[in-house]
Symmetry: C2
Subunit: 415 residues, 2 copies
């Protein structure tokens, strides 16, 4: 295994993981209105043109454009209003040369009309409004003006959404506009989560000396939910090879991905590597990433299922899950483009030291200053969950930089 | 009503709405692990110090720091290892001057020790590892080095989370680390949604001439969910004052906020204003916002419940709901700071025309170019839902700008 024990730069490490996940999860059909955050499993074609009929974009009068040519306030054109197109109904009124029909915004245009004059550019003659009556056109319109053409939004057989598309509110609207009330999406990945450590106890228990409560199972579960997965908590396993191996193997059969939050001691990390190797093939892809926090992260794949060994420190665990776990959840659903993550640009309020050749993630708090957004690093050991609680995002110190300086404009990756 | 019919700049308009929402929704207790995306209703104090005991941040040896002073590779200090602190247990081993105890990352430090020497800076003498045995210390440590102090993460009685805090994965971890397994949060706002229009039919029906399917109820429902609210769909109401008045009044009694997506014709807009005025006090706050799309938005408040009349065009409806509806949902839950929204900075690929005095939102597609992210405007009438489906976010053209130029670095508000 040539990649074993390599400490890779994070982007390369992530690419390596994603490249080994070739199969997308099975698909299922869900109601379009319940599909928010799901990922399309197939390309969706339009069954019809949208709009299906020519619609007015204004309140006004459907006309033949050539009847308005040259019209102006000083030299209006005169047209006879012969009817009205009611909303939601066919435009049964027919107009001839010199005639017009009342139309409303969104209403259908009569076949015999080719433009709409908006009401503000007209005037009734003598206040008469019983059909037929005469109006003055104060401004000429061109053919097609103020008219939505058939298929202007979507042409028939257009691709509506490609496969691998993350469904947003407007996509639901777009599907329903075409009468597509169900959509084929990838199943949500089930993500097994194990905590390990003789010192770790469930949150509802009182801690004794030397004991701490499980944090990582729950922060990871939150991140899994945010990425559209289903967390499956496997509980807390003692630092024992057989116990961990059994628990990992059992949880992996029920899930599509496995996350183990191991202790940070060297012996426990070695045990996690051995457990992953014992689960199947290809096994561990890399052991170590050139980042801080989170260098001792273990990344593997077993039969198309990502298996991630996170460091036990809660800050490392969150940063590393975000780096590998979140993209893996999207990849298992066949996403065609990773979602852009939320960022803010801010002025740094103090220096940050780093080392070239390592990508650092420093928690930061954002505040609106007189000159715009200010980012203040929240320093603290990576064992301290409250450095993340007190932060709004992470500042990335790039691989090739030895640090950042106060007053630098920095990118903050928002939580 | 002095504000009536004023067309306000969007920031002022939003402030006006939020200033009229003084009451937060009632609170409820939820399990901390289910609290993702909820907003704390009270300030939460820590019941204990975290960590509750001194912990090692390294694998190595707990020592008295002064026993290591001056130690170096060429002149090591010699200490006797007298025991080991097992993970998850009290540090019952006591060390005297010249002694050390094995500790693991995250383990408890004996009372009599004040620092930890990491294992990489030690060497066993003669390969002996049965207690007691001798080690060389190759590097001095200072008092407190490699030790997490009691309360270093959170001190007892510290405020853990303020009231009005949006709960993220790390906040759940922070609560559970302290044994806080339930949290008092504001109830989720129930948001009533009505579509109006004689031309609008449910998405599952076939359209006849002049008919269109309801889009806005579903895009708004998606946005409501994203902001942490519960959408309550009230169906499609005909363009009839009494029908709309009755439906709006009935839905408002069951919900905390009401959204009406009305047609865009002038008569329908006037009817929406009248309906809102008839629901109670204070009624309509503003009718018109200096934005495109979405100028004819109607914003009101009835008895601390926001009531928003959205334009019928789907693009306008989404942009305007995002401008007023989303902040209102957070405000009803008593949020102390609106969440930073995701943004990206990108180079514009072509000019965008606008008008000074109006804030424009132009849908844009993002692509990674050779020089970084590129934003291409997706032009289209605001009736066209697919301009949003084909976009990754919105470019904002500020109030005081007449447009943006190709190659400008622009902020894209991500969907």
């Amino acid at each position: 295994m040539p990649e074993f024990f390599n400490v890779l730069p994070p982007d390369e490490a992530r690419q390596l993981l994603l490249s080994k996940l070739s199969k997308t999860l099975p698909s299922e059909s869900v109601a379009s209105e319940e599909a928010l955050g799901r990922i399309t499993a197939v390309s969706i074609q339009s069954p019809q043109a949208l709009p299906a009929f020519r619609r007015s974009t204004m309140d006004g009068f459907a006309v033949r454009a050539k009847d308005t040519f040259g019209a102006s306030e000083s030299l209006p054109a005169f047209l006879q209003v012969v009817g009205e197109v009611p909303m939601g109904q066919a435009a049964n009124v027919s107009i001839d040369t010199g005639q017009a029909a009342i139309v409303h915004t969104g209403g259908m245009i009569p076949d015999s009309a080719d433009a709409v004059v908006q009401i503000e550019h007209t005037q009734t003659v003598g206040g008469e409004t019983a059909v037929p009556y005469e109006i003055e056109i104060l401004k000429a319109v061109a053919v097609g003006q103020n008219v939505l053409q058939v298929g202007e939004d979507v042409a028939q057989t257009d691709e509506v959404l490609p496969a691998g598309h993350l469904i947003r509110p407007q996509d639901i609207g777009g599907l329903l506009a075409l009468g597509i009330t169900a959509v084929t999406v990838s199943q949500k990945p089930r993500v097994g989560i194990l905590a390990t450590g003789d010192e770790v106890i469930p949150p509802e228990q009182m801690t004794g000396p030397g004991q701490i409560r499980d944090i990582n199972s729950y922060t990871v579960a939150g991140l899994v939910r945010q990425a559209g997965g289903i967390p499956v908590l496997g509980g807390i396993i003692q630092d024992d090879f057989n116990a961990l191996q059994q628990a990992a193997a059992a949880l992996l059969t029920q899930t599509d991905m496995l996350v183990m939050s191991a202790g940070s001691s060297v012996s426990v990390r070695d045990m996690t590597v051995e457990v992953i190797e014992g689960l199947g093939k290809p096994g561990v892809l890399l052991h170590g990433v050139a980042t801080r926090p989170g260098k001792p992260t273990i990344v593997g794949v077993i039969d198309n299922k990502p298996v991630i060994g996170l460091p036990g420190n809660p800050v490392s665990a969150m940063v590393q899950f975000d780096m590998f776990g979140t993209p893996a959840i999207y990849q298992l659903q066949g996403i065609n483009q990773m979602p852009q993550r939320g960022r803010a640009w801010a002025r740094l309020t103090q220096n940050i030291a780093s080392e070239s050749g390592r990508e650092d993630y420093v928690p930061a708090r954002l505040e609106e200053g007189v000159d715009g957004l200010m980012a203040t690093p929240v320093f603290g050991k990576s064992n301290l969950i409250y450095t993340l609680v007190n932060a709004d995002g992470l500042i990335k110190v790039p691989l090739n930089k030895g640090g950042l300086y106060a007053n630098d404009l920095v990118e903050v990756r928002l939580f």
